[in-house]
């Protein structure tokens, strides 16, 4: 008969503790992406884990690099408009507007009131569509599936409106240097008003599902905290910067396209964690609705395309067909490109993802000498090596979702 040994629980625990102290641990390298659902595109993260804790995170970008800046040096100013659609492809209208304003600043073109109001309207609608998607997938990253269905349905309605206005759902290419491609179709403003009236109901539903949701709150609160100083040092902009408590909104502080006429509030966060970034985006949507309603209420009449721009870009079609001078001018513009004065200009617009900047150098003539695209997502991702270490592996999805980046713009 085997000898019975009495073992107490504390003995086992003590031995286990002793063994653990001598246990050899080694860090694990983990590769996420470039094709992975949480990376929202083609972002690759090289991580070093100790257990479940991330000790090092190195983003690898460039998988979507298409050389947009090189292409810009090889085409006329209006030809580049479709390429701006493909930067932040979740808000193409806002990109179109930012690019057009940059060139107009250099060419010294002023846009008629109606064109400006229309641009503000489409910028804010683009913000709504971008935030609707951004918050939907953010909820999904944190494990909440239902809000995504709600926000995606609303975004679909917006895309119908975009299609009615521009002829395309995603690749809108709506602006031209000097204005927009065409005036609004009949009854379009009414449809937008109707959409704006119905949207707050869905936002309330999403609000109810997420804002006081215990799981969502626990997963986002105190996670991915960015201090005010870090946010500025790393060049964060837009909602990501404001969530950290920096009150900087280019629509208010550097108004363009007539934003100064509209009354709206700029939501600013306090702690700069993932939850704050959610709250700021949520409130921004209500403010966007406010701006849209004001634009529609006093939508000015008149042309949507600047008279000065016609001289530089395109004479009216009926004149081209009937008058010699306009025909020659049209021929020159088509073959050589419009004549933009030499000089350089930098313009940033408050896009849904942050400040989208264009630095344009012209030597005169029809093509840009250099066009640099300053992408907000590029800067937002550069802060990852700073904020990610120390978090659990499962927090990575939440942090990525909260930064709301898009790789089309980051890689250009």
């Amino acid at each position: 008969m085997a000898q019975q040994i009495e073992v107490s629980l504390s003995d086992v625990a003590g031995r286990a503790h002793e063994a653990e102290a001598h246990l050899e641990t080694e860090r694990m390298a983990l590769n996420v992406g470039p094709s992975h659902p949480t990376t929202h595109g083609v972002l690759r993260l090289l991580m070093e884990l100790e257990g479940d804790t991330v000790t090092k995170c190195e983003p690898v970008i460039g998988y979507l690099h298409r050389g947009d800046e090189k292409i810009a040096e090889n085409m006329t100013y209006n030809q580049f408009v479709p390429f701006t659609d493909r930067l932040d492809y979740l808000a193409p209208l806002a990109n179109n507007v930012a690019y057009a304003i940059t060139v107009e600043k250099l060419a010294g073109i002023t846009i008629p009131e109606r064109g400006q109001a229309l641009r503000v309207l489409i910028c804010e609608l683009a913000r709504l569509s971008s935030h609707l998607l951004g918050l939907g997938v953010y909820g999904m990253d944190a494990g909440a599936w239902t809000p995504f269905m709600y926000t995606f349905t609303e975004r679909e309605k917006l895309y119908d409106l975009f299609e009615r206005l521009t002829g395309a759902r995603f690749t809108t290419s709506y602006t031209r240097i000097g204005g927009v491609a065409r005036d609004i179709p009949e009854g379009w403003l009414g449809r937008v008003s109707k959409f704006l009236k119905e949207l707050p109901k869905t936002l309330k539903d999403v609000d109810n599902l997420l804002t006081r949701n215990r799981i969502f709150y626990d997963r986002t609160h105190g996670i991915g905290t960015i201090s005010k100083e870090d946010a500025l040092a790393y060049g964060l902009t837009g909602a990501n910067l404001r969530a950290c408590g920096v009150d900087l909104d280019l629509r208010k502080d550097k108004p363009y396209s007539g934003y100064e006429q509209y009354d709206f509030d700029v939501p600013v966060g306090t702690t700069g964690d993932c939850y704050d970034r959610y709250l700021v985006r949520m409130e921004e949507m209500y403010q966007s609705i406010r701006i849209c309603e004001q634009v529609i209420a006093k939508f000015p009449g008149g042309p949507v395309y600047a008279e000065d721009a016609k001289k530089i870009f395109a004479p009216p079609k009926e004149k081209v067909l009937t008058s010699m001078e306009e025909l020659i001018q049209n021929f020159m513009i088509v073959t050589e490109g419009p004549s933009i004065p030499a000089g350089e200009v930098y313009f940033e617009a408050e896009n849904p993802k942050g400040a989208l900047g264009f630095y344009l150098v012209s030597k005169g003539g029809g093509v840009p000498y250099r066009l640099k695209i300053r992408a907000p997502s590029f800067c937002a991702l550069s802060i990852l090596p700073k904020i990610v270490p120390g978090h659990m592996m499962t927090d990575i999805t939440v942090i990525l979702g909260s930064l709301d980046f898009v790789m089309g713009e980051c890689d250009r």
Binding site: I61, N74, K105, L106, G235, Y346, G357, V367, K372
Partner: protein, 208 residues
């Protein structure tokens, strides 16, 4: 044009540049580190929003690095340009210690123009792959690209695939008529060189 900031006259080495929008200055390459520190600490330009370079092709100095600063409280932009002294192997001190945002921007600038930022902690390519041999945004680099081996040598050996120039002839920039794109597509760019005919040497282009 916005008004020039009052502190500009305190820095004798700054040279005013022509600008259509924000104040713009040329700073000597040796002074940029000190000046950027002052901008952040004394003058409130706490955001380095953009950093890029311009290749002036035939001119010398050939490479110019351009910084855009924004004050988050005063809401003023400031453009600072720095000329690289050496045209062959351009070098500029790195601002990544002062503005961490410069880290990635400088890597991109190195990747695209081959400008080395001295003192940068991690001067690697960022958009292109590590062994890529060219600097694509330099003016002598053709739009179509240049044939290069794929980054993964083992896969390339098995598949025999390499990175080839963009198929621009009959490709995405197709023109309706037959023949060369440069002859049928109305484009304003210098058409003296395409994917089939190499760029003329420097002197020839200068005399045109």
């Amino acid at each position: 044009m916005e008004t020039a900031p009052g502190f500009a006259k305190d820095y004798a080495y700054l040279m005013e540049r022509e600008s259509a929008d924000c104040p713009s200055y040329l700073c000597p390459v040796g002074e940029i580190l000190g000046f950027a520190t002052d901008l952040r600490d004394k003058h409130g330009y706490d955001l380095l929003v953009d950093l890029t370079a311009v290749d002036w092709d035939q001119d010398s100095p050939r490479f110019m690095v351009v910084y855009h600063f924004l004050s988050s409280t005063g809401h003023d932009y400031l453009r600072i340009a720095v000329n690289c002294t050496d045209d062959e192997s351009p070098e500029v001190p790195s601002l990544s210690e002062i503005y961490p945002a410069a880290d990635w921007h400088e890597r991109e600038c190195f990747d695209m123009f081959g400008i080395k930022f001295t003192g940068h902690p991690d001067m690697r390519r960022i958009l292109m792959w590590e062994d890529y041999p060219y600097f694509p945004l330099r003016k002598e680099f053709p739009l179509a690209g240049i044939e290069t081996p794929l980054p993964a040598a083992d896969i390339a050996e098995v598949t025999g695939v390499e990175a080839i120039p963009a198929p621009m002839m009959g490709g995405p920039f197709v023109a309706p008529s037959e023949g060369r794109v440069s002859e049928s597509e109305p484009r304003a760019k210098d058409q003296s060189w395409t994917e089939t005919s190499p760029k003329p040497p420097r002197q020839e282009a200068a005399t045109e």
